[in-house]
């Protein structure tokens, strides 16, 4: 019977506190040779199958004076911009522009640096076999997400389902790497131009979550792609997004508040093994004046008194 992952973590935590087995001292305890190199204070996620990082913290630092100077220049420049922008208006634009704005292109893929704002991952993190990659499409004008899904679960004794991949945007950062959020409160619809292969994707919007019990809250909706050479304009009102936490749709549904949006992501998990492709031209927002719905899901009283 395989030892459960939680027991392994607990054991490794205990051993990690008492002694860290680095390169210098060989492990004396036979069974702790694997476990003892993990410290409870390790914050980096270690993907299964990868060897543990046994370096001491000071060995992980790469001190470089020029990198430091560039970093200081960049962050002080950003801070100065933040101060100066205040005199212009909200988000550095005049108020009239904010009031008149009805559409905005938030992400468009027009160069290699646009892909740096996105993170692609798949179930390889939990030991699965799906692969996903991004590259720029034709003429460097689109984001091409491709790969292969494999729903064979990893053989770790506890995972039952697998087979997903996701493309998620990174949270924008202000000066000194402080987290910033998008203010999409002037809009009510997500507008994307995509070209898929007929697979059903999910669009996930994550709002700013301050406390840890809300960290897994994500608002999702479906994105059905039509395979084919023609581009697809998809408009999803934000009132349609439903709340889920750790993948479980919540009974208490709430509308997505658009004043603090952290990131957007696309997930594929349709249990169909094989290759997939999704090409994205742009992701934008618009204010659809004909759309008056505030929230698409009615809440009914559970356990009514009889």
């Amino acid at each position: 019977m395989a030892v459960s992952r939680k027991a392994l973590k607990a054991l490794s935590g205990v051993y990690g506190v008492t002694h860290r087995q680095p390169l210098f001292f060989p492990s004396k305890l036979g069974c702790s040779a694997i476990l003892s190199t993990r410290s409870v204070f390790e914050r980096d996620y270690r993907r299964p199958g990868q060897p543990p990082d046994t370096r001491w913290p000071w060995q992980k630092i790469h001190f470089d004076f020029s990198k430091g100077v560039e970093g200081i220049k960049k962050h002080i420049g950003l801070l100065k911009d933040e101060f100066v922008q205040r005199w212009t208006g909200p988000e550095g634009r005049p108020l009239l522009e904010h009031m008149l704005e009805q559409t905005r292109v938030q992400w468009e893929f027009r160069g290699p640096e646009s892909l740096d704002q996105w993170v692609v991952s798949s179930d390889q993190e939990i030991g699965g076999h799906s692969v996903a990659y991004t590259k720029l499409g034709k003429n460097n004008t689109t984001c091409f997400l491709y790969g292969s899904l494999c729903s064979t679960p990893p053989r770790d004794g506890e995972t039952r389902y697998s087979g997903y991949c996701t493309l998620r945007s990174k949270q924008p950062l202000a000066s000194f790497d402080r987290k910033k959020t998008y203010d999409w409160s002037s809009f009510n619809t997500l507008h994307m131009r995509i070209r898929g292969d007929g697979r059903p994707w999910m669009v996930n919007v994550s709002a700013e979550t301050f406390f840890s019990h809300q960290r897994d809250d994500i608002y999702s909706y479906f994105l059905y792609t039509r395979g084919g050479p023609y581009w697809q304009d998809v408009k999803i009102p934000f009132s349609k997004f439903f709340l889920s936490s750790r993948g479980r749709i919540q009974d208490n549904q709430h509308v997505l508040w658009l004043d603090k949006v952290k990131s957007i992501g696309f997930t594929l998990g349709d249990k169909a093994d094989g290759p997939f492709q999704l090409e994205i031209d742009f992701i934008g927002l618009c204010n659809d004046l004909a759309h008056t719905e505030e929230f698409a899901y009615e809440l009914y009283k559970r356990n009514p008194e009889v």
């Binding site: 922008q85 205040r86 005199w87 208006g89 909200p90 988000e91 108020l95 009239l96 904010h98 009031m99 008149l100 009805q102 203010d183 409160s185 002037s186 009510n188 709002a207 979550t209 301050f210 406390f211 809300q214 809250d217 709340l243 208490n252 709430h254 509308v255 508040w257 004043d259 204010n287 659809d288 004046l289 004909a290 759309h291 008056t292 505030e294």
Partner: protein, 348 residues
Amino acid sequence: MNPYVLTVLLSSLGLGTTLTFASSHWLLAWMGLEINTLAIVPLMAQHHHPRAVEATTKYFLTQATAAAMILFASTTNAWITGEWDMNNMSNPIASTMIITALALKIGLAPMHFWMPEVLQGLDLLTGLILSTWQKLAPLALIVQTAQAIDPMLLTALGLTSTLVGGWGGLNQTQLRKILAYSSIAHMGWMLIVLQYAPQLTLLALLTYIFMTSAAFLTLKVSSATKVNTLAVVWSKSPVLTATTALVLLSLGGLPPLTGFMPKWLILQELAKQSLPLTATVMALAALLSLYFYLRLCYAMTLTISPNTTAATTPWRAQTTQASLPLALFTTMALGLLPVSPAIVMLVT
């Protein structure tokens, strides 16, 4: 919310503030503050929205920290001086800690960071209670302990709050955050004159309550939480648009509206106390606040937005809405300047 629960919570709010008003013992005052905090927590989280729960948690943590600091400071003072009485705060450490805790309670800069986030997560009525009623008890304690507190600290808190309130509100497009920064700035004005003329602090508090209540109730009637929604209110209720613009200018401190009265009297008092530099800095900081009030007036009344709001709520006339409080507070927020001599006589 269940009407019985609502009654209990609102009564507890009243009880907590009254207890603090009536107390001269630090423990009883602390108890009143804690009752207030605990009573408003269910009101804040009643909608169960993740942002409302987040705002409630942030509010609870800050208020509990402040209450713990008050308890610690009063215990320290009792240990050193042997007195639990509020008028006998002779220990400087205890008095500094007390004013810091009370500043955290009411959202004075530099302990103001929770205020915009918390107000943004709440609905407008709860935000109104938070901005007005919840300030009464801590301010009563500040007024009672003012003579024991370092004057430089009071001046620094007042100046910082006014500047931060003006600077922070400059680029906000969310109306609740604007009102939060307005609250911070007004608290600064109240604190700056506390050591010279506490009656002017109380006058400023009263006028602030009238003006803020008028602002919050107007926003509730028009269901406006963003500047863009405010820009289309003129087509729904033109009279309310006109009076709201005047209420905002009153918040900005322009004559001949009520908001000018406390600012004028405070600046006069500061000049009498030979503090021209402080008075100048306060007046200049008020200009920052005036800018964002004017911006709201501009968006609401001086331009006609080409957008129409897509939300159905503003179109729906709320027939069950009580209009008396709004009418009362608006009138008081606009028309009290001519009776300033009588008010000054009453207050001093």
